[in-house]
């Protein structure tokens, strides 16, 4: 509770805010105590503080109740300009709190499972290495990929695994995790190893980890003898030292450390684990050769980010368990960022969570995601219906209805609130139906193994363009691949599809859908049996079964008739079996095309409440662009500072430079016009010409609001502005020319 208060306080404090944004026209609308008539500036802070102090107990009470019944925490602010019913806001929050944990759990599961193989291999290697009598330090090099931050989980799991599974009935080994930032020098890193290795384990009492003193001797804190004594007391010899970011360590330090650990290996059995981001060769090139010879290593690969990503998309985003669909364009952005940048899977998960948060926090229609029982007619306000009528999919539906001459339907959609409300209440079923169709199609296509496209790409394609496997017009053309099959492949494909239908897909959350696809199952079984019979018959006849598509279908025939050569094209002779097989292939194409079919997401009526496809908030939050942001803020400061003079500047159509703008902004304009080297005296002259008092205004009292600054004030402003520009990294002092500053190109 105290912590909660701390958090509240920190949000109240302006000091902790990253940016200050003037918002003169917004009221704290949901606070009842605010009356809009009061002048703002001085009082607003007080009011905010007062309201927050008055609201904190309430929040606490609510928070307390969260602990007991797991219900609502701090409720979301009502939308629709504040007219949203509180129940709806609460419902949105509940929906979020139900939807996200499901997803998070599945993602975590995937991530943990992805490392399982590596864990097994590493543990097995350490066990085997323990049996081999070698004078070297056992070391496992785990190729983790460049995103070191994401490997915390891996090393955590390694620690759990190795400590839980002691080799040969020993006491569990001590596990020490090192990061390069922990290791500025040899003493510090030894200190950390000793401290972490002799820290009390989870199952031990605290005194065991107390300072080791033997025979009255106190050890230096970097003396491994202390660790040795400690380990002897605990009847173990093994210490596993994990270098989480192996490359970031100073190579001299690493060399020293390895040779020290090596010289102790007859007393303490050190086992080393390195997280390597690039390659073992590069790592080895940085070690001294004599050090490299002291290592007995093996290399392990972690499942690469690409396949982990595929797994996450499959089990979390695409699966039926996901309440909210991430739209194709956002998902494409997220996936591309994974491919092109060092983002890491955790950034991906964070972006997902942010998408969920945005949707439920800011979209009033997200209440429509609630199931049948909870979304009731009274919950739907007129505003909800209005909002629905502004949706693109609503317009599309209405226009389609008009085109299809269903005028009554279109009219009632637009005019009849009750009719629309019923449609809305029904849309859940339509959504489920669509999702099932989509996922089943994808499942069939993915299990067929006919396409090299990864599941993620398939999913994105299916959401944006729909699923259609026909060769000419389809989004995922598969027909050619099917036609090229030979009988054996045909049989495996058929049985694989049958199995896919009966087994469903636990990852996607699909269960056995034999009942829904009876005709598909029936025709697949028929085809399988038929082709099986055909091929066995062909084999007994000594021919190979081929279809019209796989055989060289056309043969060029040369006939000599009366000393004239006649060329004629002819179809290759197909036996009856071949023809039957061709028919079977065609039938399979047809059946599959019928079942693996789905329209794009955007064609669906009322898909907006359960999809989130906005890229802008994601970009703003996860991909900061400080250069552009600063540049824009300096070019158009009036967009950010809502003061009167700035409003005037904004209104100025000629785009002239207004002296009333902040000095830094004025200087930035001048800076943009200058060349690579800027003479400071010229800059000052230009600036003073802009802001200084005119010739005629000599006698006038100078102030900011009047006709300009006097020279001293202007100079102070100028210096300050220039210093700010320098601090923001736009200019730097140049040694090339006296009195000049150089532009720093900031991309």
């Amino acid at each position: 509770m105290a912590q909660n208060e701390m958090i509240d306080a920190s949000f109240e404090e302006d000091d902790h805010r990253v940016a200050f944004i003037f918002q003169p026209n917004t009221n704290v609308s949901h606070e009842k105590g605010t009356d809009g008539a009061t002048p703002r500036s001085a009082k607003r802070r007080k009011l905010a503080a007062a309201s927050s102090s008055s609201s904190t107990p309430k929040k606490h009470r609510q928070h307390g109740s969260t602990g007991t019944n797991g219900g609502v925490g701090v409720c979301f602010p009502p939308l629709f300009g504040g007219t949203e019913k509180p129940e709806a806001a609460i419902l949105r929050r509940e929906l979020f709190e139900e939807a996200w944990p499901v997803l998070e759990k599945r993602v975590q599961h995937v991530l943990r499972e992805a490392n399982r193989n590596t864990l097994d291999e590493v543990a097995g290697f350490l066990k085997r290495a323990a049996e081999i009598e070698t004078d070297k330090l056992t070391s496992a090099f785990i190729i983790t990929g460049p995103n070191i931050a994401a490997q915390d989980l891996l090393f955590e799991q390694l620690a759990e695994r190795l400590c839980a599974d002691p080799a040969g009935g020993d006491a569990p080994p001590r596990f020490v995790r090192l990061r390069a930032s922990d290791a500025p020098n040899l003493k510090a890193v030894l200190r950390k190893i000793i401290r972490d290795a002799s820290a009390a384990g989870p199952g031990e009492d605290e005194d065991a980890g107390a300072e080791v003193v033997q025979g009255g001797r106190k050890y230096l804190d970097y003396d491994l003898e202390a660790l040795h004594v400690f380990l002897r007391q605990h009847q173990t010899r093994r210490v596993v030292v994990a270098f989480q970011d192996g490359e970031a360590f100073d190579s001299g330090l690493l060399t020293d450390l390895i040779s020290i650990l090596h010289s102790w290996r007859d007393r303490i059995r050190f086992e080393l684990l390195y997280g390597i981001a690039t390659s073992v060769e590069l790592f080895q090139a940085r070690l001294a050769k004599s050090t490299a010879r002291q290592l007995y290593g093996a290399q392990f690969d972690v499942v690469q980010a690409g396949s982990v990503l595929d797994g996450v998309v499959k089990t979390a985003i695409a699966s039926t368990y996901a309440a909210l669909r991430i739209g194709p364009s956002l998902l494409r952005t997220l996936v591309d960022r994974q491919h092109h940048h060092v983002a890491g899977i955790h950034a991906f998960v964070a972006s997902l969570k942010y998408a969920y948060m945005c949707h439920f926090y800011a979209d009033p229609l997200s209440v429509l995601l609630a199931g049948q029982g909870r979304l009731t007619r009274p919950m739907l306000q007129p505003e909800h219906l209005e909002a629905v009528r502004t949706l693109d999919s609503f317009k599309a539906e209405a226009e389609a209805a008009v085109d299809a001459r269903q005028l009554r339907h279109a009219r009632s959609l637009i005019e009849d609130d009750e009719y629309l409300a019923n449609q809305i209440l029904d849309h859940g079923a339509r959504r489920n139906e669509y999702l099932l169709r989509l996922l089943r199609s994808l499942h069939l296509i993915a299990t067929s193994g006919l396409t090299p496209i990864s599941f993620t790409d398939l999913y994105i394609l299916a959401l944006s363009d729909g699923v259609d496997i026909s060769q000419s017009s389809g989004t995922i053309p598969l027909e050619d691949a099917i036609r090229r099959l030979n009988p054996d492949e045909f049989l495996t494909l058929a049985s694989r599809l049958l199995h896919a239908i009966s087994a469903g897909s636990p990852e996607l959350g699909l269960t056995d859908f034999t009942a829904d696809a009876e005709d598909l199952v029936a025709s697949l079984t028929d085809l399988h049996d038929e082709v099986d019979g055909l091929s066995s018959r062909a084999r007994s006849q000594g021919t190979t079964l081929k279809s019209r598509y796989s055989a060289q279908s056309r043969v060029l025939r040369t006939t000599v008739v009366a000393q004239k050569v006649q060329l004629s094209r002819d179809h290759a002779t197909l036996t009856d079996e071949d023809r039957a097989f061709t028919a079977a292939v065609d039938k399979l194409c047809e059946v599959l095309a019928q079942h693996a079919r789905c329209e794009p997401l955007a064609d669906l009526f009322l898909h907006e409440p359960w999809t989130f496809d906005a890229r802008a908030p994601y970009r703003d939050v996860f991909v900061p662009r400080p250069g552009n942001t600063l540049g824009r803020a300096l070019v158009r400061p009036h967009d950010y500072l809502a003061c009167a003079c700035c409003a005037k500047a904004a209104a100025d159509p000629a785009g002239r430079l207004d002296p009333a703008l902040p000095t830094t902004a004025v200087l930035y304009h001048l800076y943009l016009e200058a060349g690579a080297l800027i003479n400071v005296a010229d800059l000052w002259a230009a600036y003073y010409a802009l802001v200084g008092e005119g010739e005629e205004g000599d006698g006038e009292e100078s102030d900011a609001g009047g006709g300009g600054f006097d020279e001293r004030t202007a100079l102070v402003q100028f210096y300050r502005g220039l210093a700010e520009l320098r601090m923001m990294g736009f200019v730097r002092p140049s040694r090339r020319k006296a009195d000049h500053i150089a532009k720093v190109k900031w991309l």
Binding site: I132, T134, D135, K136, S139, F141, I143, P146, N147, I148, A180, L186, K187, L190, G215, G216, R217, K218, Y219, L220, Y222, L224, E225, D245, E247, A248, H262, S263, A277, T278, S279, V280, E281, L282, Q284, R286, L287, K289, A292, R293, Q294, G297, A298, Q299, F300, D301, Q304, H339, H340, H341, V342, A343, F622, P624, R625, P626, G627, N628, K745, L747
Partner: protein, 533 residues
């Protein structure tokens, strides 16, 4: 009287030791004489020196252990010793405390030792334990300082001060084990030095023949005698091929022999040659002796399990060498465990010839390309260009201003002449070293970013067309490259690796040409086109 004055050490000890450490009998005798004959050969300090893996530490400690054991029969023990390995000590203070602790353990001293922070305190503590208590006549204490020349953070007075310990404490003998002593190492006259020379070929062969060969012994199609003979001749051959030029130490030679043996004897196993046909075997295996990767075994003892990207460059499986480092360099070490060599034996004969043609550096490029995301890859390439192209050519290389299209390497070469007279130009040319050979130059970060911006459009996959510059991600990629030390910061305001936030300072690319070329090719960029010679 004479006997008591000059009594040779027990012959039994020496003979057993000489058996355990063949070819070292002279050194053992000298050491025994110097250490336990205070009356005959008064010796307060002793410098034992010799190159790596010549048995200095092993023989000293073994000898001392036996001498102390032998003395245990007499009522008061006459010889005690302590061995301190100084590479294990992080600081000089650590060394002092270790010395005090080990001496205390050796003397069974019961008082708790106090802190010992300097050399003078060390003197005090040692005097307390060794000088003042009354000891039986003839009592000696031997303090062995192993590899004391490699002590970290040693003050320059350390060695002379340690040498004077025995002047203050009469019953103390200090043994310094070093690699190559300087002429006046201890600043004391007439310190006896004992040299452990490197083994010569007959000695190597004798030592290695004393061990049984790794793997099945005897070989399947040979008698034990034949196997032993073959092993001895094989060791001699390996010594001739490799040891003379490169692997001069016993562990290195032993490692080479252990590694080569299974491959060398595979024809015997297969039955194509008999164990007696040494020269035929040698001819069959002569390729093996050319393989210099044996000399640099690398950190990977077990080849990577995934053959995907490195099928060609994978090192052949290497069995763990039995004796590698100093304590085990004693030839009496247990024979190597046969499990690994025999497991790897059947698969190996084909690999060395194929592996000879590949270089190790080429393997890193594709692996890097697989791991690094696109932005980081392009940044690394841009950094390489910034490091290896002079800044004055940037405009020609990267600007589209004049030509509409970037002008690449066509005819762009640095011409030396033109300015001065022809002689000056010739001299200039003579002095000029190819830039590639000079290594990576430092560059400012902005230049690299500018290059990155200039080339990313051309190098990109072209799918997106215009790409939005996203500063945050580029910054993250740079930080990642820096933390992987693919890009290192040099200089800078606060001393090199100090402050990452400091915008001053320059950067340098830290990967070589081979890797970069591989990386570029994986990204579809021929990096040579962008380099000016």
């Amino acid at each position: 009287m004479i006997a008591s004055l000059f009594q040779l050490p027990d012959e039994l000890i020496i003979s057993t030791l000489a058996q355990a450490f063949p070819c070292r009998e002279a050194q053992i005798r000298a050491l025994a004489t110097l250490l336990c004959q205070p009356t005959a050969a008064p010796c307060r300090n002793l410098v034992v020196y010799g190159t790596e893996a010549t048995g200095k530490t092993a023989i000293t400690s073994a000898l001392l252990a036996r001498l102390a054991d032998q003395d245990n029969d007499n009522e008061p023990p006459n010889l005690r010793y302590a061995i301190v390995s100084s590479p294990e000590c992080i600081t000089a203070r650590h060394l002092y405390e270790t010395v005090v602790a080990k001496v205390a353990v050796a003397l069974e001293w019961t008082d708790s030792p106090s802190r010992c922070e300097s050399l003078s305190q060390l003197h005090v503590e040692l005097c307390k334990m060794l000088k003042y208590p009354s000891r039986p006549p003839g009592f000696r204490f031997v303090l062995v300082l192993d590899a004391i020349d490699r002590q970290r953070e040693a003050p320059h007075t350390l060695l002379p001060a340690l040498a004077r310990l025995s002047e203050i404490i009469p019953c103390l003998t200090t043994v310094f084990i070093v690699t190559a002593p300087a002429p006046n190492l201890l600043l004391i006259s007439s310190v006896p030095h004992l040299h452990f020379p490197t083994y010569i070929k007959p000695e190597f062969v004798a030592i290695l023949s004393a061990r049984s060969p790794p793997g099945p012994n005897p070989l399947p199609n040979a008698t034990p005698q034949e196997t032993a003979d073959l092993w001895a001749r094989f060791v001699a051959a390996v010594h001739d091929a490799l040891a003379r030029a490169a692997c001069r130490t016993l562990p290195a030679l032993s490692h080479s022999c252990t590694t080569l043996w299974p491959r060398f004897t595979s024809p015997v196993l297969a039955g194509t040659h008999s164990a007696k046909e040494f020269s035929k075997l040698l001819v069959a295996a002569r390729l093996l002796f050319h393989d210099d990767r044996l000399l640099d075994p690398g950190v990977l003892a077990i080849p990577p399990s995934q053959p995907t990207s490195k099928a060609a460059g994978a090192p052949p499986p290497r069995p763990p060498p039995s004796a590698e480092t100093k304590p085990s360099s004693a030839p009496a070490a247990p024979p190597p465990v046969p499990s690994t060599p025999s497991r790897s034996a059947p698969t190996t004969p084909a690999t060395p010839a194929a592996a000879l043609t590949t270089t190790t550096g080429a393997g890193a490029g594709p692996a890097l390309a697989r791991l690094l995301p696109t932005t980081a890859r392009h940044l690394l390439l841009a950094a390489y260009l910034a490091s290896h192209n002079p800044a004055r050519h940037d405009l020609t290389l990267f600007s589209t201003h004049h030509h509409g299209r970037r002008r690449r390497r066509g005819g762009l070469s640095v011409s030396g002449g033109g300015r001065g007279g022809s002689r000056a130009a010739a001299a200039n040319k003579h002095k000029k070293i190819a830039r590639k050979l000079l290594g990576a130059h430092a560059f400012v970060l902005e230049r690299m970013l500018a290059i990155f911006e200039a080339v990313r459009g051309e190098w990109g996959d072209g799918k997106d067309g215009v790409e939005v510059p996203s500063d945050g991600d580029v910054g993250m990629a740079i930080a990642t490259l820096a933390s992987l030390r693919l890009l290192v910061k040099v200089g800078g305001g606060s001393g090199g690796s100090g402050d990452m936030m400091d915008s001053g300072g320059k950067w340098r690319v830290n990967v070589g040409w081979e890797v970069i070329r591989g990386l570029g090719r994986a990204a579809g960029v021929e990096i040579e086109e962008w380099l000016i010679e």
